[in-house]
């Protein structure tokens, strides 16, 4: 054991200064626990929020470019006022090619053409304005997993069958087996049979979404063979913006990712991350200062002993290593205890704080990567914090140390 002397002295000195050692250890443990707890909590909560938001929407939506009025140049008569053109429902040009292009783009895991537009649904005297969603079920459910949200009946929209939200069903006073009448803007009418009810955890969508098969919706919305938008799902959530920009450059269409349509949410999340990072940095600094200050005191207290060890032939490097080892010991022990403590805190919090619907807001999980990182950082910080006192001890003149 080449470091046996350093180990022996480091551990004995720590045992000798029990109070100091316990205080330092408590500081490191608390610091590591706070960092891991906060990080784990925020990561999980952010994950949950993103998951909730994105489970009912496409990651990227492709739409036809908006029609604009362009002022004609070089004419004698120019109008003083140019108003934007009224938009009507249009199909995406050559949408099959774009679906193919999207499918061949790496990073995109699902592509679903959709024909959607505003319609009225009627049952007896009740009438509601809703969005008709004409979809291909096998594709669409890869983006929004409707099967997961079904509370009654089944998700089956073949023929004239439809699936609507629980809140709309309540407003219209209908249930499975009832027929509702759909009326479009140009007064086309169609009766649909309700075969399923969904609850997507969003009251607005529960009132607005009325599903039908793609072909039927194309006919009703007067875009035969066309689609009003193409929904995409990506593999890496945070790559959505980049992929959207790439597709936009390739097609010239109006393409928006969830990161742009939810920029407020994304801002809040990134502010949260910045705050968490700030807290982490400050905790690390405070813990490092704590270790350093207690070790400085310990070096002063051990002055005589260090002098005597040097007189007996201990090298400067050996003395240096004694105190660096102490820093490393505090870092390692503290992070081990801190990881356990943070796991306890996470378990406790997961039991106390729950979602409004009673489900777990987060689970007491510990990311092994985070735990390993925290241990490594704690050890490095421990050693760095010990560097100043250790160098002071190593530089000590044995004669002065013994005499003082």
């Amino acid at each position: 054991m080449p470091l046996s002397f350093e180990w022996l002295l480091a551990i004995r000195f720590l045992k000798e200064g029990k109070m100091q050692s316990w205080l330092i250890l408590a500081g490191v443990t608390g610091g590591v626990a706070i960092i891991i707890f906060l990080t784990q909590l925020i990561n999980q909560l952010q994950g949950t929020i993103i998951d909730r938001v994105l489970s009912s929407q496409a990651h990227i939506v492709i739409k036809p470019t908006e029609e604009t009025t362009i002022r004609q140049q070089n004419t004698l008569i120019t109008s003083a006022l140019i108003q934007p053109r009224g938009q009507r429902l249009r199909s995406i040009d050559q949408w099959e090619n774009i679906v193919q292009l999207a499918r061949n783009t790496p990073g995109i895991k699902a592509v679903s053409p959709v024909a959607t537009g505003p319609v009225f649904v009627r049952h007896n005297l009740a009438s509601k304005s809703v969005a008709l969603l004409g979809i291909m079920p096998t594709e669409y459910t890869k983006i929004v997993n409707m099967y997961r949200y079904m509370v009654k009946g089944r998700f089956d929209i073949t023929g004239d069958q439809t699936v609507i939200g629980t809140d709309l069903a309540k407003d219209l006073g209908v249930t499975i087996g009832d027929r509702i009448q759909v009326t479009t803007e140009d007064n086309q009418q169609q009766n649909l049979t309700i075969v399923g009810l969904f609850d997507i955890n969003n009251k607005d969508l529960n009132k607005r979404w009325v599903f039908s098969n793609l072909r039927l919706a194309q006919t009703l919305l007067n875009i035969p063979g066309g689609v009003s938008n193409i929904d995409l799902a990506v593999v890496q959530l945070f790559q959505a913006k980049q992929l959207a920009q790439r597709l936009k450059a390739q097609t010239g269409l109006d393409i928006e990712s969830w990161m742009e349509s939810n920029s407020g949410l994304l801002n809040a999340l990134s502010n949260q991350t910045v705050t968490n990072n700030l807290i982490r940095v400050f905790v690390v600094i405070i813990v490092a200062l704590g270790i350093a200050s207690v070790l400085v005191v310990s070096v002063v207290q051990k002055q005589k002993e260090i002098g005597i060890l040097r007189a007996m032939g201990a090298k400067r490097a050996q003395v240096l290593r004694i105190f660096l080892l102490q820093g490393a010991i505090f870092g390692t022990l503290g992070s081990t205890l801190g990881i356990s403590l943070s796991f306890g805190l996470l378990t406790l919090f997961s039991l106390i704080y729950k979602s409004p619907d009673g489900s777990m807001l987060f689970t007491a999980q510990l990311d092994p990567k985070l735990a390993i990182m925290a241990s490594i950082v704690a050890m490095i910080v421990g050693i760095l914090a010990a560097l100043v006192p250790a160098r002071r001890a190593a530089r000590m003149d044995p004669v002065q140390a013994i005499r003082s």
Binding site: G313, K315, R316, V399
Partner: protein, 237 residues
């Protein structure tokens, strides 16, 4: 005269006071200790005894002059080499024993071996135990320094100084902190070790009676050694 264990040739030591003024504390010391001798260094306080002992113990470097320990020159060598030379050749006994309070008697005796990364723990332990019984403390090996009397602590410090079998032991007022009886015991112990093991001793002491019982006496006054005859006459006066 047998081979010298320690040679000092024209050793001078100055300390800078402030930025420009230098004060010379030792003015050209010449001294030779032969191997196996038993020597006393006396002198009033402020005469430079401690400084001289620190130089010999390689804890400080002289401003000029030659200092040889066991035939090794100590000029122009690195701090690490000095540390090594010190560890191999010199054992220290201090006035205030300076045992490590966190370690028991046996561990304190073994400490020099631990520092030098012994290869055989069993052999080191056996040697340390034999040293403890040589200083009459075989039964107290497990006790912490705080549980022992001043005399016992000093015995442990002597055993520790002997651990690496150094040819030279430097003792700085080893009896200064003890009552007359204990002081006499410690002195006898050192004399006995000198006679049985042939280890050279240099003892700094205030006690002229103890000094008189040493084979060679060196007297330091104002940073210079006086002749033994002067010392003898001074002693007679």
């Amino acid at each position: 005269m047998s081979t010298p264990i320690l040679e000092l040739i024209d050793i001078r030591k100055s300390y800078a006071i402030g930025t420009s003024v230098e004060t010379e504390v030792l003015h050209g010391i010449n001294m030779t200790l032969s191997s196996g001798s038993f020597n006393a260094l006396t002198g009033p306080s402020g005469s430079g005894k401690s400084t001289l002992l620190n130089l010999i113990g390689l804890l400080e470097s002289p401003t000029s002059g030659t200092l040889r320990i066991n035939q090794h020159d100590t000029q122009n060598i690195t701090d690490a080499e000095l540390t090594k030379l010190r560890g191999q050749n010199i054992g220290f006994v201090f006035q205030f024993h300076h045992l490590l309070p966190a370690f028991n008697a046996l561990e304190n005796v073994m400490m020099p071996a631990i520092i030098h990364q012994y290869s055989d723990k069993q052999a080191a332990t056996t040697h340390a135990k034999s040293l403890l019984s040589a200083v009459g403390l075989a039964d107290a090996w497990h006790k912490k320094p705080s549980e022992l009397s001043g005399g016992m602590q000093q015995r442990i410090a002597i055993a520790r100084a002997l651990m690496l079998k150094p040819p030279l032991i430097l003792a700085d007022e080893p009896t200064g902190n003890l009552d007359t009886h204990a002081a006499d015991d410690i002195f006898k112990l050192m004399k006995q070790i000198n006679e049985t093991q042939g280890i050279t001793f240099l003892i700094v002491t205030h006690d002229t009676k103890l000094a008189a019982r040493c084979q060679n006496r060196y007297h330091l006054v104002d940073g210079a050694l006086t002749h033994p005859e002067d010392f003898a006459s001074e002693n007679l006066n």
